[in-house]
């Protein structure tokens, strides 16, 4: 492989490419694995490998601008007295205060509230800023239980029991010493400056039978008012979703391996888990096999960037999606206007993933008060709201073109795949054929 700045007769190894060799040198120098934020960077079968079949003779489209196309979603209809109603299927994923600045959390709350959707706390508890600015706030119940208390639990509009994350299924959170300020340390009951590695499994229950009792406890404490979600990192998704439903979840959140993280070992991000595209059909199959599809709602996350991705998740059978990385980019993460500063950190705008170092020039993944001030939460909220509006409009555009008056009515039959891998994973036919690998010949 040649590159512009090398001579034509030099050939780069596909196996030992420059990134690989740089990592070997880095490991040799430091003796510690690479830790970073962001999600998987390798190329994976993804939503870009699917296409929609717009209406033509055999299907009847809806007028793109005027005809109604419902986007409202109700989450938690199974057991909760107060399900969550969101106006768009795009929700904000759990990202901790600690990983993100208080301003960033506030901006996420403002943006989500402006468009009638929910936002989510993270590994580190609930801050008054985000509760105050979030009309609908999902409270994460994590293995670490940092900052977990029944008062905040009762303030939540839903509870999300986190079993895992797509970026690191089987691993716990990580927040390095640079970001453990007095406030973060106080909220997590940890000494200031420790390289905090959260537990990877819950402390007081082990298998799905225990989880059923734990869910019951959370329901008892909140008097059965709010929905209980279970979030899993995508691996053995078919079985995990079944067990989550059996344990009593109102909503299952499936996070694929492209899902973002604030800090995880690179080896974990790139080598553990399955792509979001592969996980959704497994989750939907599990729900259908139990007769629970649409009764237990499915939220999907991991690499969602635009309205087409949203529409594709819905067409595969999800009820809603969650976004992390894209929401941060909307706030200004990796903004080219800070390119010089990214370069000083050894990175560049568009490449920056050292969220764990807490030096984010955009003031988002930091606890440095001076950097954090760069993000105005009102302006950030406005941008996030705009971005979610665009995602919703784009998804509606596609749904109408497919003749659907509700985003929810999109279905696998509306899509084809561009590659064999994506056809096999998404279980839709290869474009121009009726062939779904593994299902027909």
């Amino acid at each position: 492989m040649n590159n512009n700045d090398t001579q034509d007769n030099l050939r780069e190894s596909a196996t030992f490419d420059r990134v690989t060799m740089a990592e070997i040198r880095r490991a040799a120098e430091t003796g510690i694995y690479d830790i970073r934020g962001f999600g998987a960077k390798r190329k994976l079968p993804h939503f870009d490998d699917l296409l929609f079949l717009g209406a033509s003779m055999s299907r009847y489209p809806l007028e793109g601008y005027r005809e109604a196309c419902e986007t409202k979603v109700v989450l938690g209809t199974r057991f909760a007295k107060k399900p969550i109603i969101i106006d768009t299927p795009v929700t904000i994923a759990g990202m901790s205060f600690g990983a993100l600045s208080a301003n960033a959390k506030e901006a996420l709350g403002r943006g989500a509230s402006a468009v009638g959707t929910s936002t989510t706390t993270g590994d580190g508890g609930m801050t008054p800023e985000e509760r105050g600015q979030s009309d609908k706030l999902v409270y994460q119940y994590l293995p670490s239980r940092y900052g977990m208390n029944p008062d905040d639990l009762r303030k939540a509009d839903a509870i999300e029991i986190v079993l895992g994350q797509g970026a690191k299924p089987g691993g716990g959170g990580m927040l390095l010493g640079q970001k453990i300020t007095d406030r973060v340390a106080g909220m997590r009951t940890l000494p200031k400056g420790v390289d905090q590695r959260s537990a990877c499994r819950h402390p007081d229950w082990t298998g799905p039978d225990d989880l059923a009792i734990k869910i019951q406890e959370l329901r008892e404490i909140t008097d059965w008012q709010v929905p209980i979600y279970i979030k899993i990192g995508a691996t053995r998704t078919y079985y995990d979703v079944k067990l989550a439903v059996k344990a009593g979840a109102d909503v299952v959140v499936v996070d694929g391996m492209q899902g973002g993280t604030a800090a995880t070992q690179e080896v974990f991000i790139e080598h553990v888990g399955i792509p979001t595209l592969a996980a959704i059909p497994q989750a939907v199959q599990a729900l259908q096999d139990m007769g629970m599809h649409r009764k237990v709602q499915l939220i999907v996350s991991g690499g969602i960037r635009n309205g087409a991705d949203v529409a594709k998740c819905m067409a595969l059978g999800a009820d809603a999606v969650a976004i992390g990385t894209a929401a941060l980019v909307a706030l200004g993460c990796n903004d080219p206007k800070y390119d010089e500063e990214f370069k000083q950190l050894g990175s560049a705008a568009g490449f920056y993933d050292d969220y764990h170092e807490g030096k984010d020039p955009a003031g988002i993944s930091t606890q440095d008060p001076i950097l954090a001030q760069r993000l105005n939460p009102v302006d950030g909220g406005r941008k996030l709201a705009n971005y979610i509006r665009v995602l919703t409009l784009e998804a509606q555009t596609i749904a109408r073109a497919c003749g659907k008056s509700n985003l929810n009515n999109l279905e696998p039959e509306d899509m084809v795949a561009l590659t064999l891998e994506s056809a096999a994973m998404a279980k839709v036919p290869l474009a121009g054929t009726s062939w779904i690998p593994g299902q027909s010949f």
């Binding site: 510690i32 239980r145 009951t189 009792i213 406890e217 008892e220 008097d223 059965w224």
Partner: protein
């Protein structure tokens, strides 16, 4: 005194009655009978109630307790007083694993023994076990004090943060980064106070103290890149 028989009422009905007291305190003395080891009895209390439970309880009894004083006249299942914030929980019999897990405050007293992971991830409470504790007790425990009047199982205090552990009997093994520490008069006094609160007459000078060596607090980087 209000008496609730769990053969006649559901746990849901009981918990709702107890929760209602946090809005409007009508009755602060409660007695619960015929528990049959049911789960989630008296969890989420948020009022100064005295709750006596006559019988064995299942998982998460008195979970997330705030302010209330709960006494279990029997054995307790997994995760008794998990994430307790304040108040006291007293188990007269034995407790299963994860007793007092993640508890932030209050006092948990167990007259008998506990299973594995007693005080796992505890965050500031005091736990006194008059018997033995099982393996991996105080795993990743962050703050507060665990007192064991009997023996402790394998890997005590593995990956410990700032929780202090006192053990009178044998410790089968210490977990990663947990070490024995010197005991001064200050520690004996502190321990005596806690033993008194737990109604124990043990002599504090018979206990050894364990804590974190703090060697796992930060990654070891040979040469920051």
């Amino acid at each position: 005194m209000q008496s609730i028989n769990l053969a006649e009422h559901t746990v849901r009905e009981l918990n709702q009655l107890l929760h209602d007291q946090s809005k409007d305190l009508v009755e602060d003395q409660w007695e619960i009978s015929e528990t049959s080891g049911q789960h989630n009895i008296a969890c989420g209390l948020n009022q100064k109630l005295n709750v006596g439970i006559k019988g064995h309880v299942g998982y998460f009894c008195a979970g997330m307790n705030q302010h209330a004083h709960v006494t279990v006249h029997g054995n307790a299942g997994q995760g008794v007083a998990e994430n307790m914030m304040s108040g006291t929980v007293h188990v007269k019999g034995d407790a299963s694993s994860a007793a007092g897990a993640t508890s932030h405050g209050g006092l948990l007293v167990i007259d008998g023994n506990t299973g594995a992971r007693c005080g796992i991830s505890m965050k500031g409470s005091d736990i006194v076990v008059k018997g033995n504790v099982g393996h991996m007790s105080c795993f990743m425990a962050q703050a507060g004090t665990l007192v064991v009047c009997g023996d402790a199982g394998e890997a005590l205090g593995d990956s410990l943060y700032e929780t202090v552990i006192f053990v009178k009997g044998k410790v089968q093994s210490l977990g990663a980064d947990c070490v024995e520490k010197s005991v001064t008069d200050k520690h004996f006094k502190q321990l005596k106070k806690l033993l008194d609160r737990a109604g124990s007459e043990e002599d504090p000078t018979h206990f050894k103290r364990y804590g974190s060596a703090r060697q796992l607090y930060n990654f070891k980087v040979d040469n920051a890149y």
